[in-house]
Symmetry: C2
DNA sequence: GGGAAAATGTGGAACGTTCCACTTTCCGCA
DNA sequence: TGCGGAAAGTGGAACGTTCCACATTTTCCC
């Protein structure tokens, strides 16, 4: 006794399978009487349309493939929110695959998505080599999220890191800070742009001579090391712009250890506005990326391609915004004794 | 020029489509010569097997459906790790759906998974009414994760909250604490069990008379309110067991505000061991749930059913473990002045 | 009242695989 | 040399839908 098919319903209701198909899809030209009868029989039998068979004959799956390098990163969770919302609104379903940051399993996950005949691919920070991605993009519209691309076949959606860094610097400068240092993100995604954004913004505010960048990483440890470097020699800054929230938290810890008050003596600004930043205990001023919006945009880009509206690639940069919390304030009037 | 099918490959290679099928699936009885020829043609044509067609004829999709109430909760990310690892090992793929904690969209997401003919369903904390879940379980093996069930058709995997609470109390008691209070999780999932576990453990340690439970919630705010209640009247506790990590962090904030030192004056223990707890700045002693293991178990339960090994329901309780960090220590020798 | 048009309903081909029953070829050995 | 069985390969039915071309019935209007 396997699952009932459309034919079972048709027989039992005394109509053709075509009619049942029509009813199940809510077609207009069906008499109320038959519609009701079919519906009744279908529900009595526990009939459920088989999306597999439908996809085969229609030559479309209505499925978008989402590939994630890392489910743990809360950043992506919010991007997916946007993806799913937009996809649902436009009549698409979403299937998610991950690869644990191992090239081989990433490749397998990608193959799976392709074999399932997803109609579009959203790749969030894959570590896959560009060659593989380009191959995939030949089969199906592909958009890269949070990883910039200059490819002409692959669309991309990213946040404008340069602008975000400028936001952070602008905020600190307008509070009156001059010695604003940057703990950078090493070779992390977007770290270079943030660094450059910082330098340019310092320049624009006439603070080029005060600019100071120390090596860090997108980790707590990175922020911690950065503070060590900054406060061990030279004139101490009154504000620190860390490459991301995690580094900012490391910065906070290191400053606390050295008995330096935040924000009374030193202001700290992060980047990403992760859930961590919002925790009361931390309450970090940071730069927010419009994550759900990025997801929605990614879906839109794919649908533009699917609808044949566009052949060439689009690379979208989303504007970040500043979230002011408790770790930034005006600099101390007096020189801070070290 | 649509995608090449198995027939295109067959024609071009001068063999039957059956042979191509055999080659693509790596069947043994194929001559090296033809195998190679087929493979060459397939790759030249960019042929990729169509999983949709295969699923239709084989009557199996090799797909497991995972339903998540909330992608943001890092808890689930780790459960999914386990699910995906185990599923991959056993030859299944995974498709994830979410419902934003809205009953209607949860129902839709569930329907989608079912229509795609997933062979099993893993539901992580759905808010869906039990009736709907029972219905689904009639179509396909279903397991509930992190939501206990007594149903005889639906398997479940949860953490043993009672045991976890006992772990927390035992840890504090062995440090020498006697006045151990509990800030509870209101009507959150598992909150009742944690409360009961706390009470029983206090009893077992001969501390029944010192037991004190105040109302809280699974939020920072909940922890904050709990501290207010605990320290505004009556004899202040020397240790607090909060219902989860978020509440524990709220507790930490509130204690800091009142100038109470942790762990010198008061010890704090949380529950869940979220990433938050590991942050240096917080460094919370907490109870860990074996999340990946829970995911793996969920998959195993489904496969047991699929393999027909089992008809009746199994309800698995996983043992939690204690993670000691910096917020717990021996109680102060002297009475703490309030 | 008659005919066109609209509404309603139907049968069969097609989608791209897998699998079964079958044929052909090859090899070893009595 | 002949024969049996293994190895290699093939054709066609089947999976559960959708869609097209077509048939039948009803409605509408002059």
């Amino acid at each position: 006794m396997s699952r009932p098919t459309i034919v079972d319903v048709a027989k039992r209701a005394g109509v053709s399978k075509s009619l049942v198909s029509l009813v199940m899809r809510g077609a207009p030209n069906v008499s109320d009487e038959k519609r009701e009868r079919v519906l009744r029989v279908a529900s009595a039998l526990g009939y459920r349309p088989n999306a597999v068979a439908r996809s085969l004959v229609r030559q479309r799956t209505n499925l978008l493939g989402v590939f994630l390098s890392d489910l743990h990163n809360p950043f992506f969770a919010e991007v997916i929110d946007g993806i799913q919302a937009e996809a649902a609104e436009r009549g698409y379903r979403t299937i998610i695959g991950t690869g644990d940051r191992v090239e081989l399993s990433e490749a397998r996950a990608l193959d799976t998505l392709l074999e399932l005949r997803t109609e579009g691919l959203i790749l969030a920070s894959p570590i896959l080599p560009m060659r593989r991605i380009a191959e995939a993009s030949r089969e199906v519209p592909t958009v890269l999220v949070a990883r910039a691309s200059r490819s002409s076949t692959i669309d991309s959606v990213a946040n404008d890191d340069t602008a975000g860094a400028a936001l952070a610097v602008g905020h600190l400068a307008s509070l009156g800070h001059r010695r604003i240092a940057h703990i950078d993100g090493g070779d992390g995604a977007g770290a270079r742009e943030r660094r450059r954004g910082y330098e340019r913004a310092m320049d624009r505010h006439g603070l080029a001579r005060e600019a100071r960048v120390v090596a860090g990483a997108y980790t707590e440890e990175g922020g911690w090391q950065g503070v060590r470097a900054l406060f061990s020699r030279g004139r101490a800054p009154t504000a620190v712009f860390a490459a991301n929230d995690l580094a900012a938290i490391g910065t906070l810890s290191a400053l606390a250890e050295q008995g330096i008050g935040v924000p009374e003596e030193v202001s700290v600004v992060g980047y990403d506005n992760t859930a961590l930043a919002a925790v009361h205990h931390i309450h970090l001023t940071t730069v927010d990326q419009p994550r759900p919006e990025m997801g929605r945009t990614a879906v839109s880009l794919i649908l533009e391609r699917l609808d044949g509206e566009r052949g060439s690639a689009r690379h979208v940069l989303m504007p970040p915004s500043l979230v002011v919390r408790g770790t930034s304030g005006a600099p101390a009037r007096k020189k801070v004794p070290r």
